[in-house]
Structures are given as structure tokens and as C-alpha cells.
């Protein structure tokens, strides 16, 4: 179990939206924030299981613009640190 967990960490080194570079994408996993904010994000398309792409970075690098479910949404860096993502599996990456 422990090994599996370590292995998973090693493969999926990406943890939050913040860690993704512009042009990279990840699969939404979880929100670590007050319920009302998480619900607002979900209304805008940030639903766990969906792919998020870092579309661009605004002037000064903050906020950044994310593309999810066909919509573009700007989020500050501090909030993007509270959104857990995992890397795309090779099958998911291929399906793109």
C-alpha cells in the first residue's frame, strides 16, 4: 500500500492547479475551500473529473485564466492552490 501510494505520488507529481504551467492541463479532483466558494466554482464548470487547461496568464502572472468545459474563468494564484488536480493518464492524454 505504502509503495503504491509513493508510486502514485511519483507519477502524478502535479497536485494543485497552481502547479500547472500555461498550456498544461489536469483532471479536477477536490476543493480545499469554503463550501460556498466551491459551489460557485462548480456552477462555472469546475466539476471533479473534468479536465482544466491553463489557458493564459494575465499581466503580472496573477490572476491566470483557466479553460474548463468550454468556459474561461480567471482565478487568483492563492485560490488555484486550493484546487487539487491530478495529471492526465496516458489514455486520457491520448483521447484528446
Amino acid at each position: 500500500m505504502v509503495f503504491n501510494f509513493m508510486k502514485q505520488r511519483a507519477i502524478h507529481s502535479v497536485h494543485t492547479l497552481f502547479d500547472l504551467a500555461v498550456g498544461e492541463s489536469g483532471i479536477l479532483e477536490d476543493f480545499n475551500m469554503p463550501q460556498t466558494i466551491a459551489e460557485h466554482l462548480m456552477n462555472l464548470g469546475f466539476v471533479p473529473g473534468l479536465e482544466v487547461l491553463v489557458a493564459r496568464s494575465g499581466p503580472g502572472g496573477n490572476p491566470r485564466v483557466y479553460r474548463v468545459d468550454g468556459t474561461e474563468v480567471a482565478l487568483r494564484r492563492d485560490l488555484s492552490r486550493c484546487i487539487a488536480v491530478r495529471a492526465l493518464t496516458s489514455a486520457e492524454a491520448e483521447a484528446k
Binding site: 475551500m33 469554503p34 460556498t36 466558494i37 459551489e39 460557485h40 466554482l41 462548480m42 456552477n43 462555472l44 464548470g45 466539476v47 471533479p48 473529473g49 473534468l50 489557458a55 493564459r56 496568464s57 494575465g58 499581466p59 503580472g60 502572472g61 496573477n62 490572476p63 485564466v65 479553460r67 468545459d69 468550454g70 468556459t71 474561461e72 474563468v73 480567471a74 482565478l75 487568483r76 485560490l79
Partner: protein
């Protein structure tokens, strides 16, 4: 490409051809789905703004006239993403739809407007709305965009899945809008959906929406390429900021370079009418009341209508095109420094026009403390009501000498400094508030970036009419009222049927009574009366000074700017400008702050704070100016 389906095939034949079966219909939909555009197309000029009692959510009601002349009343509810009673907008929507909103009739039916390019998200809202059980028409809006971007959807299977009539429409072009009329005259039928999502779990809701979409062969269109291209310029690391600065400068440049001549023209027109009125009416009390009290009072305010409309037009174009959402993103970093976020930028920009709509625009700020902080600093922005006061005092006291080349003179510099002064005080106040009483820890800046679109002239025009009417209403009530009262006070007490000398009039007694309080600022009693009246609305001071000098034989023939020189020294004039930059002199703003913050606490604190700052700053400005310029 599917053709909008005939509604009759889904709901049965109309009972009595042409007569509507619903009296009140609610228009519901998420933000940016074109709900308001549709509402405007259906109702046109037959609409008005309203507020439900006890809540701050604004809504429009309007009348939709069917082809045979029958009328249906439509309620345009606030844009909602879901029906969650935790959010105020969504609570209002739920209450209205359930008939639990006092003052609003329970709608007989719902028109649900969704963006056909975002059905995976928006169908979730459809699930919630349909589950309320009211007869519902689902409109998939922006059908033209869906087609252009290579998307598609089959309406019939979607209608079967949802159990409601569905039509592809475009509120912009009018395509498919006939579906609304067909729906309104068809036999009412409660929705019978095949299956609705289990609410609560967003993942299941979305899976349901995708399943329903798949049944209808739904394919979303690609995001228009030019939105991405424009964003790579407008949100560019370097150019984004430069373009932002250019846009803001252009906004103000437009207002001054186009608005000023228009105002001057209107002023000339009003003056001519005043001369004509004064010649036509028999000399005496009526003549004086109409010319000096009514016309000069209200007219001095009317001349600002062109500038105010222009400002709202420019802001409206920026908003509808989608640029304002990008401006919020760009300004977020700077706003974060004073403890606010980019969402405060839009209200603060509008506050340069008028604080009242700006304070209403703070509703988009989710964080309550950020919202109150924005409300409290908005009146420091140089609103258009300060403009006439600044223009008049600067023109009277500051000689126009070139400073930077032939275009920028001392007067322009003085005007600009006043703008900077107000902005600086807003920044200081915001910092102080956000690091003390209104400190908040979890600030979330979440800004949806809609695709760029061409603004619709009809929507812009309707909004301008709203603003224009509000301004004219103020000119016609508050300002007119104050002008008439003032005129009466200059006319009393009568001696042997003759009005008194201005020095013996009631207004002079009031002015002399408050004079000790304002003498340290370098103001005489006439300015004092002007100040007193300006607490109703800033620009009233001009009307007041006009009335005071108009009835005074010594200054009767003089232009107001000349007459002012007998009231103020240059140092007093500077103090007056500084006072106006900071003071909270606007009843309408106080009223709207009370409504938006649900109580008197914030408007009273704001009034005391701003007026104290204004008094102290004016005193300091007076003393400093005395040292250098006398």
C-alpha cells in the same frame, strides 16, 4: 442542422387561437446566456425596473404584446447558475417562482433561456427549474453562434427528455422567437421529464446533463477563434496593461471632448429659453419664481445630462463587448494591494459617472466585506455632479496659463489634481478599512470571461433611458424642490408686498447663523447657504448661487463666475474645491447605500467620515494656500 420545432407538436393544439393562457411569465436563465437581450426583444420600451421589498435584487417587469394585441406580463429575474437558497439572487428566483415573494404574483409559466454553446452546464439549471413543476419553455439561445462554430443539437429528443417544449432561438437576430408566442397560446401542460438528476451532487448532475445532451446529439461549438486572439492581446503580459491604460484615458477623453460641447450647447439653449420666459411673463413674483427659482435652478443641473449619458454609453459598450471582465482581471493585482479585488474595478469606474449605479453594481462582489468597502469608497471617485462645481470655481479663480505645451494648461492640471485627490483618498480609505474593521481572509476572485460580442444598440439604448430618467427624476424633484424653497427664502419676509433686500431675507439669516462654522474654511454666508443646499445633491450649489446672485440687484447682471469672486478669496476657492472632492453631499447616494447595506449604520458612518475628512482637508488647504497665494 435542426430546425426550431413547432411548439404545437409538443403541447397540443391551441385552445382558443391567439389568446394567451398565461398572464404572468418569469424569464429565468444563467448570466451571459442572453436573457436580458431576449427580454428586451420581447418587451421593448414596455418595461420598468423594480425592487422586491426587503431585498436588494433588482428586476425588470415588462409587457409582451402578442400578434393579436393580447398582453402577457413578463418578469426578468436575476441571472442564476442554480437554485441554491444560500445566494441572494437565487433565493429571490426560488421565492418568486414558488409564489412566496411578497409583492410579486406567482408566475403561471417559465421561459428558461440557456446558452446553446454551454448546454452541459446550463442543462443542470434546466433540471432544477423543470422540477418546480411549472409549465416551462426552454429556449436554447445563440443558435446562430452555435451553428457558426460548428455545434449542433436536435430539439425534438431534447424536448422529449426534458418533458417541455424546446426551441433553438437567437435573441439577437430574432430567429425562432415565434416559439414564445406559440408557447403562450398553447394548452398549459406541466412538464413530464423522463428523468431528472439527483440534486446535490455536482458530478451526478453533470453526468445527467451530458446524458441528456448526448440523446439530443448535442455537440458544443468551438470557442470563437477571435475571442482567443483578442484575449492574447488584451490579456498580454505587457500590452494588456498598456491597452487597459489607453482604454481608461479614452473613456475620459470621450466624455470631456464630446460631452463638454454638448453641455455648452444645451446651456445656451436653456439660457435663451430663460430670457424668453422672463420677457413673456409679467414682471413680479411669478416671473421671479419661474425664471429664478424653477428654470435657473433645475436648468443648471440639466446641462450635465449629455456627459452623464455619454459616460454610461461608453461603460455600457465596454461591458457588453466583454472587455470589462478582462479589465477586472487586469486591475485585480493593483486592487489586491489595497485589499480589494478586480470585481471592485467595474463599480469604481462607474462611480466616475455617478455613485448610485456604481453602488448597485457592487452586487457582483461575492465577498460581503469587500462589497461594503467598495460601497464606502465609491463616492470619493469624482462623479459627474462634482464636475459643474469644479468647472465653475476653476474657471472663476484659476487663470489659464500653459503648463505643458499649448494643450495642457493650469486649469486642466487643477481639474486633474482633483480627480487624483479623490482617488487617493479612496485608496487610503480602502486600505484603512481592509486592514481593520473590514478585514477578510478568504477573498476569492472568480471571474467568468464571456466571449467578446458586438454590443447591441437596443440594449444600450434601453439602459441609457433608465439612467437618463433617473437623473431627470432627480433634477425634477430634489433639485427643483430645493431651488424653489431657496427662492422662497430669498423672497421672505415680505415688507409691504415687496421682497426684502437680500441682506434682510430669511436665507441671509440662516446663512449668517452657520457662518461661524464655515468661516475657518474661508467661506462667507452665501457659500454657506450653497454648501447647505449641496447636501441634497452636489450640483445644487450652482443653482443656489445662481438664485442668490440672481435676486441680488448688485450682482444680478453679472455672470455667476464674476459674482463668485465677491464671495471667495482664491484660498477659499481652493478650500471649496477640496471640500467638494471629499464630502458626501448626495441624498440619492445615502439612500442607495442604506438600501444596499440594509440599514442606516453604514450610510451614517460614511457621511460622518467623509464630511469630517472634507472639513479638515478644506481647512488645511485654506491655510496652506493663504501662505502662498493671496
Amino acid at each position: 442542422m435542426s430546425v426550431p420545432v413547432s411548439i404545437q407538436t409538443l403541447t397540443g393544439p391551441p385552445r382558443v387561437p391567439g389568446s394567451p393562457v398565461y398572464k404572468t411569465v418569469a424569464v429565468v436563465g444563467p448570466p451571459n446566456a442572453g436573457k436580458t437581450t431576449l427580454f428586451n426583444r420581447l418587451t421593448g420600451l414596455r418595461q420598468k425596473v423594480g425592487n422586491f421589498p426587503g431585498v436588494t435584487v433588482e428586476h425588470h417587469t415588462g409587457t409582451f404584446r402578442l400578434e393579436n394585441g393580447a398582453e402577457v406580463s413578463l418578469i426578468d429575474l436575476p441571472g442564476v447558475y442554480s437554485l441554491n437558497p444560500k445566494s441572494e439572487d437565487e433565493k429571490v428566483t426560488i421565492d418568486v417562482l414558488n409564489g412566496e415573494m411578497p409583492g410579486a404574483e406567482r408566475p403561471d409559466a417559465i421561459i428558461l433561456v440557456l446558452d446553446s454553446n454551454n448546454l452541459n452546464r446550463h442543462l443542470i439549471l434546466a433540471g432544477r427549474v423543470i422540477s418546480l413543476g411549472l409549465p416551462t419553455l426552454v429556449l436554447l439561445n445563440m443558435a446562430d453562434e452555435l451553428r457558426k462554430q460548428g455545434g449542433q443539437v436536435d430539439v425534438l429528443p431534447l424536448a422529449r427528455q426534458l418533458g417541455t417544449p424546446v426551441a433553438l432561438v437567437s435573441a439577437v437576430t430574432g430567429e425562432g422567437i415565434i416559439a414564445v408566442e406559440n408557447f403562450l397560446v398553447a394548452t398549459p401542460q406541466a412538464p413530464e421529464p423522463l428523468e431528472l438528476p439527483i440534486f446535490g451532487d455536482p458530478r451526478h448532475c453533470r453526468e445527467w446533463a451530458v446524458r441528456v445532451g448526448t440523446h439530443a446529439a448535442y455537440r458544443r461549438g468551438a470557442t470563437p477563434e477571435w475571442t482567443r486572439r483578442l484575449d492574447s492581446i488584451f490579456l498580454h503580459k505587457f500590452w494588456g496593461g498598456i491597452i487597459f491604460a489607453i482604454v481608461i484615458v479614452a473613456v475620459f477623453q470621450t466624455i470631456f471632448s464630446l460631452g463638454q460641447p454638448a453641455s455648452d450647447l444645451l446651456q445656451k439653449l436653456l439660457d435663451n429659453v430663460a430670457v424668453h420666459l422672463s420677457n413673456v411673463l409679467p414682471a413680479g413674483i411669478i416671473n421671479s419664481l419661474v425664471v429664478n427659482g424653477v428654470w435657473k435652478g433645475a436648468g443648471s443641473v440639466l446641462v450635465f445630462l449629455p456627459q452623464i449619458l455619454l459616460l454610461f454609453l461608453v461603460i455600457g459598450i465596454l461591458e457588453d463587448s466583454g472587455y470589462l471582465a478582462r479589465a477586472a482581471v487586469i486591475s485585480d493585482k493593483v486592487m489586491a494591494r489595497v485589499g480589494l479585488n478586480g470585481k471592485s474595478f467595474i463599480p469604481l469606474l462607474s462611480a466616475y459617472g455617478c455613485a448610485v449605479p456604481a453602488i448597485m453594481a457592487t452586487r457582483t462582489i461575492e465577498n460581503k466585506r469587500d462589497r461594503i468597502a467598495t460601497i464606502l469608497i465609491a463616492p470619493f471617485m469624482t462623479c459627474s455632479a462634482r464636475l459643474p462645481v469644479y468647472t465653475m470655481v476653476i474657471a472663476a479663480f484659476i487663470p489659464n496659463r500653459p503648463v505643458l505645451g499649448p494643450f495642457i494648461g493650469t486649469r486642466a492640471v487643477a481639474m486633474l489634481s482633483l480627480y487624483v485627490l479623490g482617488f487617493a483618498m479612496a485608496v487610503i480609505t480602502a486600505r484603512a478599512l481592509k486592514s481593520s474593521v473590514l478585514r477578510s481572509k478568504d477573498v476569492a476572485f472568480i471571474m467568468e470571461l464571456p466571449p467578446y460580442r458586438w454590443p447591441m444598440w437596443k440594449s444600450l439604448g434601453l439602459r441609457l433611458m433608465d439612467r437618463g430618467n433617473a437623473f431627470l427624476f432627480r433634477a425634477g424633484t430634489v433639485i427643483l424642490g430645493v431651488s424653489i424653497v431657496l427662492w422662497a427664502l430669498t423672497y421672505l419676509p415680505m415688507h409691504n408686498g415687496q421682497p426684502p433686500d437680500i441682506a434682510d431675507s430669511a436665507i441671509s439669516h440662516i446663512g449668517h447663523f452657520i457662518e461661524p462654522a464655515i468661516r475657518p474654511l474661508g467661506f462667507n454666508w452665501k457659500i454657506g447657504v450653497g454648501l447647505l443646499s449641496s447636501f441634497a445633491a452636489r450640483e445644487v450649489i450652482i443653482a443656489t448661487m445662481g438664485t442668490l446672485h440672481g435676486v441680488d440687484p448688485e450682482s444680478h447682471a453679472m455672470a455667476l463666475q464674476q459674482a463668485l469672486k465677491s464671495d471667495l478669496t482664491p484660498a477659499g476657492a481652493i478650500a471649496l474645491l477640496v471640500f467638494f472632492a471629499f464630502a458626501m453631499q448626495c441624498m440619492s447616494t445615502m439612500a442607495v447605500v442604506r438600501r444596499e447595506t440594509n440599514g442606516w449604520k453604514w450610510p451614517i458612518l460614511q457621511f460622518l467620515y467623509m464630511t469630517t475628512v472634507a472639513y479638515v482637508a478644506a481647512f488645511v488647504a485654506y491655510r496652506i494656500t493663504l501662505l502662498y497665494w493671496n
